[in-house]
Assembly symmetry: C2
């Protein structure tokens, strides 16, 4: 667009660049204003030769006819009218007309006066973060719900927007306002997104009459220009509400295992071993919820299939969350979803990884450990870090090395370094937890936490083995020397055969429960 | 949706909540999938009674006819087909069908396998941050351009996405790739958005033949799922290119003032005083670019109007940027835009605020200070902090107190506290700066920086006065005692009349230049 000097207000004749867009001109291309909103019609562009009176008149006429298309010619009119005003006395001009087409979002700019001065436009492109990513919502009782999702990290951090929730009865139309309490359980690790857990409490029971109803979450932007997003997070159809599920007497299982996001080139054999061990460990009244964020490829699914068919394992495909960058495959989001999902399945929910082996001293039982003190609603479990590649060399081992199970041959534990904090994993009574973490819940609603030493219950952590697609043994200790202190990888190690000694029983259990399994390392 | 036990894969009969969405059911409402994309038709909802074969067939037929509406029934088909597969052997299923309607963005999810396991969907809502907010682009020479905008802070921080630029000749269709260099000038202050300055260099001159051409910026997401946004940031029409503007001999001014974003309840009188003082200070060959982010209300504009009419001042309305939360009314964005805008207007561009008064000792001149050493391309200027409310009480002052100008009666400077760093402001040769900051440019391309003491050049900073809509004097010092050290507000103060003594000349200059001005405090 040529800048005609006698028309400009600014006497800077030598200016280049985009400033020319903002001065009066005989030829004004408005395809920019149109382009933004015509998503459904990408190939239609309109070039309009501008004459002041005719064009504005045309605008106003067209504006009456085309709101449905989403094309807002009022935008164009507003821009053109603005340009007209350069050099003229201020004309009162409704400023909210430069709204939807330009901004790609519903935004109220009526408080912004765009009628004076040299107007500069700031044009948005693309979408980096949504306001809210909806995952799930669960009823926690007659008058309480938990909502699990992700929020834009920078918006949450800087605007601390309020959340609101309400229950809408579809039969009566009644809307009941809830009181929402927000928990951010991911310790600030989130990158583009952060996990948000909203507990929505009502002053009275809602939907317990079995009528058709919905839980609505209102997620806000925390600024004066944007209205909250109204999100239907849960619906209960007629007759669906069943209050008896909240009664612990009715829980179908004793234990639920909630796995974190599994990613990477997982060894099917390692997964098979873990599954057989823990199916036996937790017993018949247990259920496993596994989450595939990419790790459960076809060969891994082969060894899980029999357990899934038996109804012992649910494999959740959570791969779609990969497109939203939270923290490590959104693991904090996943464990919170699983927490609420498991709430009325069992008294205790376990959170640990698929390279960690839970263990209870044979002098007691898992049930005794967990239920000894009824006040305890969370137990954190001590870790025994295991070496990922030290094995004992003896004739028996060498021969069957390849076909031995991982935990059968990895028999060295790392000697704990004094003063170092080692991670723990945990079990909670999920109905008493408001939110979950990876190593513990910081949001218990009731009861006390126990942080026992590992004498009765502990887990053996074979870190670095789960995605090892080959022989794990790299260093061999002579059988005659096996009880001696070993130095390897900047650590002291001691012989630790506790889990290895269980291999025979686990293999037998597997054979009796699911039959023969393929051996795919 | 009722959960029918014999159809489910999961044997958890007592589960509540959204898990039910994912199991096979006789009645499936798909208005959710439809709702997301039917922006132009908010009131059309489709309830469809599902029978397996008929519905999928209907889907496929409708899918051929309705892409233009934006409604993608393939989404619905994909979801239903997925639900069908529960319990059946895996069917190869093109997974990218759950794309556009669900995601509200162009996203390539073809690498994500959604065909196995229990599918969990993560549904986006709202828009928290765009990828890029386009402000401006300027030519810097025959083969270089500068592009100024905002990027999503969290995405820039965590993904460090690449930027690319190219020149497209509309007449020949030739596309020339540029080399882009990114500068983030806002010191990490950005909240939802951070300022990005891209310098785009070409290996050869582009568009210098005066042909029709465009500069394209490609802003990326830095992930495997999203394609870059292609943004036309600058266009030059036939005959527009004029290489002579780059020659300093042709610069129309000696000095350009670039003001930061002005916000708040600004006192018109304070602004009037500043304007008159600096119009006189910088002389005839100077231009002022002011930026209104809300501070230049009607009364302030009254006192600026005569200067605007004379062509000495440009008032840019930047209020629209308020909807994008960068840092303090996007001041870093604004000063960078102004830097490039001023590049070929004058040899020197000044960056300081409208409550700061530039001063040069009468033994020298501004030109001498700046141009003494031709190697110097940036000069940082020392601050003299002035008390905002201490005045001298004498008969003359008292009588005219109300009508005296601010800098006429505020005659105390703060005694500098040892060891404290005081802010500076600065002047640069804009054509040698790649980007700008508030207190200096960290991105000079040529020459050296000078950080002189304040003996020849300094500025007096009347912090806390510019949005004082009333009498500034609060504490009065007896005339007889005025040279004594004053203690006030946890600071020592000394008499400082340098600027005050210039009031008479400034008022006269104002009268001669723009005539009488209203007195609006």
């Amino acid at each position: 667009m040529k800048m005609e000097k006698h028309q400009t207000v600014i006497k800077v004749e030598n200016e280049t660049g985009r400033v020319k867009d903002k001065v009066r001109s005989k030829e004004l291309r408005c395809h920019t204003a149109i382009k933004f909103h015509m998503r459904a019609f990408p190939d239609i562009r309109v070039n309009v030769i501008y004459t002041m009176v005719l064009a504005i008149g045309l605008c106003l006429v067209v504006a009456q006819f085309s709101p449905l298309l989403g094309f807002d010619p009022k935008v164009w009119c507003a821009v053109m009218a603005k340009l007209e005003k350069l050099g003229k006395p201020e004309v009162s001009h409704p400023p909210q007309l430069i709204s939807e087409a330009l901004f790609h979002e519903k935004i109220n700019t009526s408080s912004i006066d765009l009628t004076h001065g040299e107007l500069r436009l700031f044009k948005p492109h693309g979408l980096a973060t949504h306001l809210y990513i909806e995952m799930s919502a669960y009823r926690g009782g007659p008058r309480v719900f938990s909502i699990v999702g992700l929020a834009s990290k920078s918006l949450e951090t800087h605007h601390n927007p309020p959340y609101a929730c309400e229950w809408v009865s579809n039969s009566t139309g009644e809307v009941v306002q809830g009181r929402s309490h927000k928990v951010l359980p991911d310790w600030g690790y989130g990158k583009l997104y952060t996990v948000v857990v909203i507990t929505c409490n009502f002053a009275k029971d809602v939907g317990v009459d079995g009528e058709d109803g919905e839980l609505i979450l209102l997620a806000s932007y925390g600024d004066q220009y944007r209205q909250p997003e109204r999100i239907k997070v849960l619906s209960e159809s007629k007759g669906e509400y069943n209050g008896s599920i909240f009664n612990p007497q009715n829980f179908p299982y004793d234990y639920v295992y909630c796995g974190s996001s599994v990613y990477g080139n997982i060894s099917p054999q390692r997964m098979r071993e873990w599954m057989a061990y823990h199916a036996r460990f937790f017993g018949d009244k247990a259920h496993f919820i596994l989450h595939d964020s990419g790790g459960f490829h076809e060969d891994v699914r082969k060894v899980l299939e029999p357990w899934i068919k038996q109804g012992k394992v649910t494999l959740q495909n959570i791969r779609q969350q990969e497109i939203y960058d939270g923290y490590y495959h959104n693991q904090f989001l996943i464990v919170n979803d699983c927490l609420f999902r498991s709430r009325f399945m069992a008294n205790w929910t376990f959170f640990f990884d698929v390279d960690e082996y839970m263990y209870v001293e044979p002098t007691t039982t898992l049930s005794q450990v967990l239920n000894e003190n009824p006040n305890i609603t969370q137990i954190t479990i001590e870790q025994v870090p295991m070496a990922k590649d030290i094995c004992v060399a003896d004739n028996a081992t060498r021969g069957d090395l390849k076909s031995s199970w991982g935990f059968e041959k990895l028999v060295y534990r790392k000697v704990l370094k004094p003063g170092l904090r080692y991670d723990r994993k945990y079990a909670v009574q999920a109905r008493h937890a408001e939110a979950a973490g990876i190593h513990m819940s910081m949001n218990m609603l009731k009861g006390q936490n126990l942080y026992p030493k590992g004498d009765k219950i502990r887990y053996y952590h074979y870190h670095g083995t789960i995605n090892k697609r080959g022989e794990v043994c790299k260093k061999f200790v002579d059988a005659g020397n096996k009880t001696a202190l070993q130095t390897h990888d900047n650590h002291y190690h001691r012989l630790e055969e506790t889990i290895a000694k269980m291999a025979k029983d686990v293999k037998l259990y597997e054979l009796n429960t699911v039959g023969t399994q393929p051996f795919i390392v």
